[in-house]
Symmetry: C2
Subunit: 256 residues, 2 copies
């Protein structure tokens, strides 16, 4: 079995990096081959742009979707995108390790989605959601936040965590993944020591607890029940939810 | 009066660029000075990273929040961030023009949030939400999507647009903005001509309709009722929603 960890944090000594190492160790102990895409360390370019497509379908007007499709067909995808896709093709489980910045993933990780999940190659109009390319595989977000857990409930000050993570979870659903409920490390305050948890006994204790939680969750990666999303059977021919489908609301309100 | 348009699309002949021009023309006709931050054309760097902070508060361990705060205090913020902040300080209205990519803003625009809304300089623990730096100013997202409007309702195939835009709207609320309901141009299919609407009569007609809608909405920028978010009066001392506060759910379900 294979696990891919997509890691997004600029600081090698961060809480996030420590959790990445916990994820890698845990999955190796379970017998997995583990690969890490360390986006900052690799200098990944998160900006989808014409410069990635020297062989254009349309040299005059740039459309990301048109060029992704064309490059998929003609085997001219950028080398870094090809590398990430090869890792994804191997991975039974994908772990995303990142901090919440501005109520979402950092730009570096968002751009990984923009560039790597290529139109044509990895999805088409009919090959999405529960018919998506990666159906049967699993994905999980392991996320740090900078505020206490209590502030992330419905209407809470920091924003409902189930709403903040909804878009990235839906993107993973779009690609066919079974998405596990996220592992949340709240209150990772860089104000308390600049993420230098190594030098701070209280932070070191918090980190140890978060590491235990992550390791326990990953140990159950095959048996945990995935989050619920609507799929093809739930939509009519206009892409609208059929009457009587209730899984959707339950998910949006039930994730935190 | 001043308007800042933060524009995020790689193609100068795109639908998005045309809507940006409509926004600029509309606001100039209303007597505004209009500035455009064209993120792709300017080569904006969306990656928050150590390289932006030559004068570090902590040279050993990088924390974005710590370094933003330090650079704000010591007037060593990066030149591009200082320029964006100066534009924001002038702007009575900020218009964000972007396509939905992977259920959110493109990485280029997400990184503008990550880098420009600096800790210390533009917000602190107590200077947020309805006490935020930009309180009294207004912001609006003008957004294109690649699928029909019907698919963006609750449980719809493309994802509920009110959930997809919730994080970016909440970030604007966090900074103190009154956030107007978004202007949505659905079904902008690059598959139909690679965004080259100039060459396609049907697309040109759609674009004209979207331009009219955007111009009409912007003409009412001062009088439209902003979206509802919880604020300081709605939270207890733990940052949890007080009992009996109902505006939150109304917003989440009512935006589309």
């Amino acid at each position: 079995m294979h696990t891919l960890i997509v890691h997004c944090h600029p600081e090698p000594r961060s809480f996030n990096a420590a959790l990445r190492d916990t994820a890698a160790r845990t999955m190796r102990a379970l017998g997995h081959d583990v690969e890490v895409s360390d986006l900052y360390a690799d200098g990944f370019d998160p900006v989808e742009a014409p410069r990635h497509y020297p062989c254009r379908a349309n040299a005059d007007v740039f459309s990301a979707l048109v060029e992704q499709r064309h490059a998929s067909t003609h085997a001219t995808l950028p080398a870094d995108v090809r590398r990430e896709i090869a890792r994804l093709e191997q991975a039974d489980l994908v772990v995303f390790q990142f901090p919440v910045w501005w109520h979402a993933a950092p730009a570096m990780l968002k751009g990984w989605f923009d560039r790597v999940f290529v139109n044509g190659g990895l999805y088409t109009g009919s090959r999405r959601y529960d018919r998506g390319h990666f159906r049967g595989r699993r994905a999980i977000c392991s996320v740090t936040t900078g505020a206490p857990a209590a502030t992330f409930g419905p209407g809470g000050r920091s924003g409902d965590i189930s709403l903040l993570l909804w878009p990235i979870h839906y993107s993973l659903h779009y690609m066919g993944y079974d998405v596990l409920s996220p592992v949340l490390a709240h209150g990772v305050q860089d104000a308390h020591g600049g993420y230098a948890y190594q030098d701070d006994a209280a932070l070191a204790g918090e980190l140890a607890a978060h590491r235990d939680t992550l390791a326990r969750r990953l140990a159950n990666w095959q048996t945990d029940r995935p989050l619920r999303f609507p799929g093809w059977d739930d939509w009519d021919e206009h892409g609208t939810l059929k009457p009587g489908i209730v899984g959707y609301d339950r998910y949006v309100r039930g994730c935190a």
